[in-house]
Subunit: 425 residues, 2 copies
């Protein structure tokens, strides 16, 4: 599925030398290639990894990849997982190997990373009016006939800026009209009438081609199942209306896309109800957080809580940090902070304590704050915690966990590190 | 001041190839070295830089470096600016060229970065009980007699763990007893009696040498000038008491260290009152945020607000993002979010708008939220804002601004980019 520069670029990741760019690794790894280090199958707990170190569970990662592959297939959905979550080309490749149509991204720099690693199909779930970036996209389209690129439009002015930046020669840039999730929601056209005006502008732009409609139900104000379903019906109706109006004439495929990580069950239901249109419909789901899942925000919001019979995701991240200070019976401090853990949606969750090779639940231990480089722990009388102990932390929000780590060990349940995931933020 | 691997490693940064690792740069820069790109003196606004892009002001950076150099000299303070703020070896070098004694750091990985770039003196303002990291530090000390390393101790158990990890052969690791900033404060020994017990443990540890006392006044509970000054007097008194007790016998130099970016005026006052001890005193100030300063947290907290006659720091960061959506007269969205801007202490501040080469104040524009990849703007009737405009944002908190960017253009006031700062987080 990955073509062109992909396999070579991925192979080069294994040839990178371990040095000061990568933290948490054993000092003895310095000078090895990442591939050589992986081949040593070091143990995360006994072979000199230094805290803090974020690890991904090998088994849970694979589990999550399979769960969403099956979910998309079961519901007849094409899948373009949001790559902004991990920005890890190795995970993009595994997602594509697990059936993904392509990768969703948010900004042109992310497209550049994906293209450097041979990703052929990119859905940019965002407006794009930067002339320099548009010219780069256009050059990519002209240089590689296998490159498929789709992005949002949500204003007539945006369409005009895009068209002005593009030469109009070569392949046009495919766009979908973004329908806003409601009044006060994020980007997107607010009304169907305005959607028509934007589509008219696209029709008049030499450098652009209208290929469908899209939006993000995760921003529906006061979201609940009814409101989300109602908005998805609006999105589907917009596709039907555009199709009836002949706006998709001549297309091989009409794109209808939605779906973050909180409402893909509603998206599956709504997209199952898309009637026959004048061309086959690419029903594109974009959920990204599933790859690592989490122990907070997405644990609470995952649609699998509503449809447990369809599967379950497993939190794959654990941040290991060490107790460096235990000044009182009520306080302890870890050597991990804002530089290491997501803190935008929830604080980390103390899960387990390791001492002398034994692991036990982190009873009576709560993270109450993060400094830049410290976690503040409150401890009750039942907490048996000493300076030197390792504490395993669960995290909330995959996007702001991945983005704090450049190279992430992938460890099996017994601690054996089998791979290292490189991110590019 | 930078010796050994420093100049060569810094030169190699200029030889790095521009590729997908670095965002915000012109697509045409791909394949150039960073040095070649800097030599082109491109303009941030007209030469194809892509949004979002964070820029440092060349003039303000230099100004800030000079201001704190003069401040430390004026007050007889040695200066070890906290390098965790930028994690940029090029800035470490400039800080050292501007008179810094060395660099303060928070975790061993940061020491590894500093050592890779030849920093000779490191103050680790943290406890360190990780055996693998301690063995690496010890090996660094044995391999380079010019390497000076000092870290905190705050518990007898911590001292025991350190000593157990170190062989006791070779040079000992220099430590300072960390006095906590108060009850409920962060790390550090809570009472003077306990400080004595920790110092006793150090005296009995073959692998360690007690060289002074330290702490962080920024964590004084309910900090105000009186409480901070009172705590600093405790710290100085502890040094005097330890000295009288003979705990510093045989030292060439006694270390007394404090000082973040909010109270260095109080530190200067307190350290001026340190009486003569049995050896010269290295009065070590550790402020780090000054290098970029900011438009929020440190603008409010800087000691120069209290002592304006001593100078003033200037906010050196500006994040440039583009308006990609303007769905209503009250809303607009930029293509920069949590991935690009600090959000832990304040949201970004809309400062200026650029359109067609003209820059004007961002009247009537407020950032109200950040998504991962978007900024939400609220606009009043006076806001003249269109899709395609660039908005210049001020940021709050240098530490969580630097850590989102791998390569940061340094631009002069007219937009000419003269250098690129590489960070290692």
């Amino acid at each position: 599925m990955v073509s062109g520069p992909g396999p070579e670029a991925l192979a080069r990741l294994a040839e990178e030398r371990v040095d000061h760019r990568f933290r948490g690794l054993p000092p003895e790894a310095e000078g090895l290639t990442v591939g050589e280090l992986a081949a040593r199958r070091l143990n995360l707990f006994t072979d000199g990894f230094t805290t803090p170190v974020l690890a991904l569970s090998a088994e849970r990662l694979e589990h999550n990849l399979k769960v969403m592959e099956r979910y998309a297939a079961r519901h007849g959905l094409a899948f373009a997982p949001h790559g902004k979550t991990s920005m890890a080309p190795q995970l993009f490749q595994r997602q594509i190997e697990h059936g993904a149509w392509g990768i969703t991204l948010a900004v042109p720099h992310q497209v550049r990373v994906a293209r450097a690693f041979g990703v052929r199909r990119v859905f940019l779930a965002n407006e794009l009016v930067d002339p320099a970036a548009l010219r780069w996209i256009s050059a990519q389209l002209d240089a590689d006939e296998d490159f498929r690129f789709i992005c949002y439009v949500d204003s007539v002015r945006g369409v005009e800026l895009m068209d002005a930046a593009l030469s109009g020669a070569g392949r046009p840039v495919d766009v979908v009209v973004e329908l806003a999730a409601g009044e006060g929601a994020r980007t997107g056209v607010r009304t169907e009438a305005e959607c028509g005006a934007v589509a008219d502008a696209v029709a008049g732009a030499r450098g652009l081609r209208l290929v469908g409609v899209a939006g993000y139900e995760g921003e529906v104000p006061k979201a609940d199942p009814e409101r989300v379903a109602a908005w998805l019906r609006r999105l589907v109706a917009l596709a039907v209306e555009f199709d009836k109006a002949g706006r998709f004439a001549g297309l091989d495929e009409i794109v209808v896309s939605a779906g973050g990580s909180a409402w893909f069950d509603a998206v599956a239901d709504a997209f199952a109800a898309i009637p026959g249109l004048s061309a086959p419909v690419l029903k594109l789901l974009r959920s990204g957080a599933y790859v690592s899942h989490d122990d907070g925000h997405y644990r609470r919001l995952t649609p699998f809580n509503r449809v447990p019979e369809e599967g379950a995701l497993e939190p794959a991240f654990r941040l290991w940090a060490q107790v460096v200070s235990r000044p009182t019976a009520e306080q302890a401090f870890l050597n991990a902070g804002k530089r290491d853990a997501a803190y935008d949606l929830d604080l980390p969750f103390a899960q387990v304590v390791r001492r002398d090779g034994a692991e036990r639940p982190a009873e009576g231990i709560t993270v109450t704050a993060l400094s830049d480089q410290h976690a503040w722990l409150r401890t009750t009388a039942e907490a048996d915690l000493r300076v030197g102990d390792w504490v395993g932390l669960g995290l909330s929000h995959p996007c702001t966990s991945f983005d704090k780590w450049v190279l992430i060990p992938v460890a099996e349940a017994d601690g054996t590190v089998t791979d290292y995931i490189r991110t590019f933020f």
